[in-house]
Point group: C2
Chain length 464, copies 2
């Protein structure tokens, strides 16, 4: 698939050894965490400067070669998969923190800075980078921006979008744009920074980003509550939101908890069995705040919404309570689950979840549905475990039908077919369940503005 | 200028009496708070529904008539001025709050809802709409979105952008788009909602917006501090930000304060004369927070940054301290001031302000410079009072030179020529000081995508 003469011209644009074409590299850098598409790039290139990125993009335009940006490759939608002879542009060698300003609380990052690297840097400054999720140890800032990464603290801190003060991008024509210049207030026309956030590399590549930091949270404290039924979760959320500034409000089902408990390495929160659990977190910055949390808990028990609960009294206990939620995804991966990442507005969550439970239960009573997610922001992770009686192929054939039901219900509730994992290739064909034909038309026209030759991550979000 | 036959066809699209062409209406609805352009629209139309807005836009495309959206007409950049025979589309009859959801904390607003109407509605629900500024009593939500309005609480709550959960827009072709569907998490391609926010009506019209509310702030408390010099303001901001979640951090100069005190209707904060003052606000939700504020104040005095200070002990005192800052703009309007609304990153503010003071003072020693602004977000309002010895024309001729210096210094510090007032027509010719030629080119191309016939508020942000 690789054209040797073409690759030689690419090599001339970067440092020696920074173009790889061996089979192992093509395999490794051609994919993300999804497994549905076979990686087939023709080369991997590792720029070390913005100028080299620009040169690569100009080269790609000249030779009509498609480019795929590559960060930590932890994506779950195949947005960073190169399955069609593309050249992968890896930002692994543009991974430095370039500057820090304590007054502006900003950090200038190259796109290859790993999320955890930024989190740790912030901590060293006595500050906080609040976007956090399971893959923080390998995901990169450029990829976070490309997918507008969310995670477990969105209810308080919002998505990655909220933390991008400014950025430099190289568009599909190789032009360098400096977007927003790190300003808080800037009313000078269209905020194109926002367009590139969540664009999955289809408009251009993020080559530098100034990220904001926040003050460090004080005495983070978690509660795990056992709910009488799913419908009780919503008034519990409401009651706590009226009293506290929550930093997280997660939920998981008894089935999810049972799988985690079966591991044997996490202490139980409490003895009472409940059908659903909520994990909430807040800053117990003063005793008054902690008391308000306890009073609200008691109110929820009196109302019959909550059957039992526990509040962390130490950093260790905080970590242990979080494990009940954070270990779910990895734990259930052994059951080859069908997974879907969807959202609706918070108030619609109970009816939405009920509809999906009902239709799946009716047609496939042997399917075990494991729900968990960021319920404080309406983002549900639907997981269906493969019954032992089915082969993988049989199971995923049935799941294709489930997919259609789920997206129809998403559409019915005016929700999103992808809450935080992006569209990439895995959800491309379902985009019309969430976006109108007119919207998709405008999106394609915007892409043509920034990428007239269609070389920037083509086939992602929508078909070429 | 009005074409009677054409206007008849327009009248057929809306309710009887909802097209005005009398001289008084043309004058009133053809302008905003700027005075630089003579209003000259050919008609004013008042749609009452989204369908009517779509019909008007289709009509405008058919007849190649330019449209200017019109809200509270409180703009300061002439973005809502119709000076060239346009038809003004006023949203005065689309001014209803349509829905409220207590779980999502969202309010569905028609574009003509007045900011204060939304603020009051939120208060009635025990919640809070945090975007606030001098013209909140007449500005409308549609206009706020069009200019991404900021104001006095941005340091804590951000701009209007942060509070738009979703919106319906009519594009320049008359298509209706429902953008983001009020979701918190939605990773389905380009977030076009963000493009329309701050677009000054040049891409389409906002015809409905779902705005988020926040919990009501608790026991808002203000401090006014007298600073030893301007350079001391920044470490004071830094010290307080490290200890408190500030809801505001404003500043003003002794000259600004003197004008307000001369009114005689505001009690002084304290006796000590200082060259600069800071007004900061926070939620004194517990005694511990109030104590942390007092300790920080004492630290600032010990460091020599602060000479005197006062903390509000009552709602009345809070209001009175805010008057010291909020009355400035109206008070100095009697001196026919040259005004400019500019921003840089927070850490650059002292050097930036110094440069402007120096060049203006050197060339025009008789000019009285009055500084105030939202220093916590880097947004400065520069005001120069007209010396009595100069006529208006002489003064504004000299100010044209000042303008150029100011924008050159903005460019030097990588700032924004318009922090929150927008570009409109008044700053259109200076846009290149803040945005590169490439960026302006992309903006024009984006406009062509949504408004191929160039009928949506043409000549605003950039020349046609």
């Amino acid at each position: 698939m690789t054209d040797p003469a073409l690759i030689e011209t690419l090599k001339s644009l970067v440092e020696p050894g920074k173009v790889l074409t061996d089979a192992e590299s093509l395999e490794a850098f051609g994919k993300d965490w999804t497994k549905h598409f076979a990686p087939a790039p023709q080369a991997i290139v590792f720029p070390k400067s913005i100028e080299q990125v620009q040169a690569i993009v100009r080269w790609a335009n000249e030779h009509k070669v498609a480019l795929v940006p590559s960060g930590g490759r932890t994506g779950l939608s195949a947005a960073a998969v190169a399955a069609n002879g593309e050249v992968v542009v890896s930002f692994d060698y543009m991974n430095q923190i370039l500057d820090f300003n304590e007054f502006d609380r900003t950090v200038v990052c190259q796109p290859g800075v790993v999320t955890e690297q930024l989190q740790n840097f912030a901590e060293e400054q006595g500050l906080y980078y609040p976007v956090d999720f399971a893959s923080a140890g390998s995901s990169q800032i450029g990829g976070n921006i490309g997918t507008n990464a969310g995670g477990i603290k969105v209810i308080r801190y919002g998505m990655t979008r909220n933390w991008v003060a400014g950025m430099k991008v190289v568009t599909g024509t190789g032009e360098l744009l400096e977007l927003n210049k790190d300003l808080i207030k800037n009313a000078t026309g269209y905020d194109m920074r926002q367009l590139f956030i969540g664009a999955e590399g289809t408009l251009g590549f993020v080559v530098e980003a100034t990220m904001r930091l926040d003050r460090a949270p004080q005495n983070l404290t978690a509660m795990v509550l056992g709910a009488a039924d799913f419908d009780s979760i919503m008034p519990v959320l409401h009651a706590f939101q009226n009293k506290l500034d929550l930093t997280a409000f997660e939920f998981f089902s008894d089935k999810a908890l049972a799988k985690v408990m079966a591991r044997g390495d996490v202490p139980p929160a409490f003895e009472t069995d409940c059908p659903f659990y909520a994990l909430l977190e807040f800053e117990a910055s003063t005793e008054e705040v902690a008391n308000a949390a306890l009073e609200t808990f008691e109110h929820c028990v009196e109302q019959g919404w909550v059957l039992d609960g526990v509040m962390s009294q130490s950093e260790q206990q905080l970590q242990n309570l979080w494990k009940l939620r954070e270990y779910i995804s990895e734990t259930i991966s052994h059951w080859t689950p069908y997974k879907n990442d969807i959202s609706v507005t918070v108030s619609k969550v109970p009816a939405f979840l009920h509809d999906i439970d009902e239709i799946v239960g009716k047609h496939y009573p042997d399917f075990e549905i494991v729900w968990f997610g960021h319920i404080g922001d309406g983002n549900l992770h639907l997981n269906i475990l493969k019954p032992e009686s089915l082969t993988k192929d049989e199971f995923f054939a049935k799941c294709a039908t489930v997919n259609k039901w789920v997206f129809e219900i998403v559409q019915k509730y005016n929700g999103s077919i992808s809450a935080e994992h992006g569209v990439g290739m895995t959800k491309r064909d379902y985009l019309h369940y969430s976006r109108s034909a007119a919207e998709i038309g405008y999106m394609k026209a915007i892409k043509a503005v920034f990428d007239p030759n269609g070389i920037m991550n083509p086939g992602k979000i929508f078909a070429e």
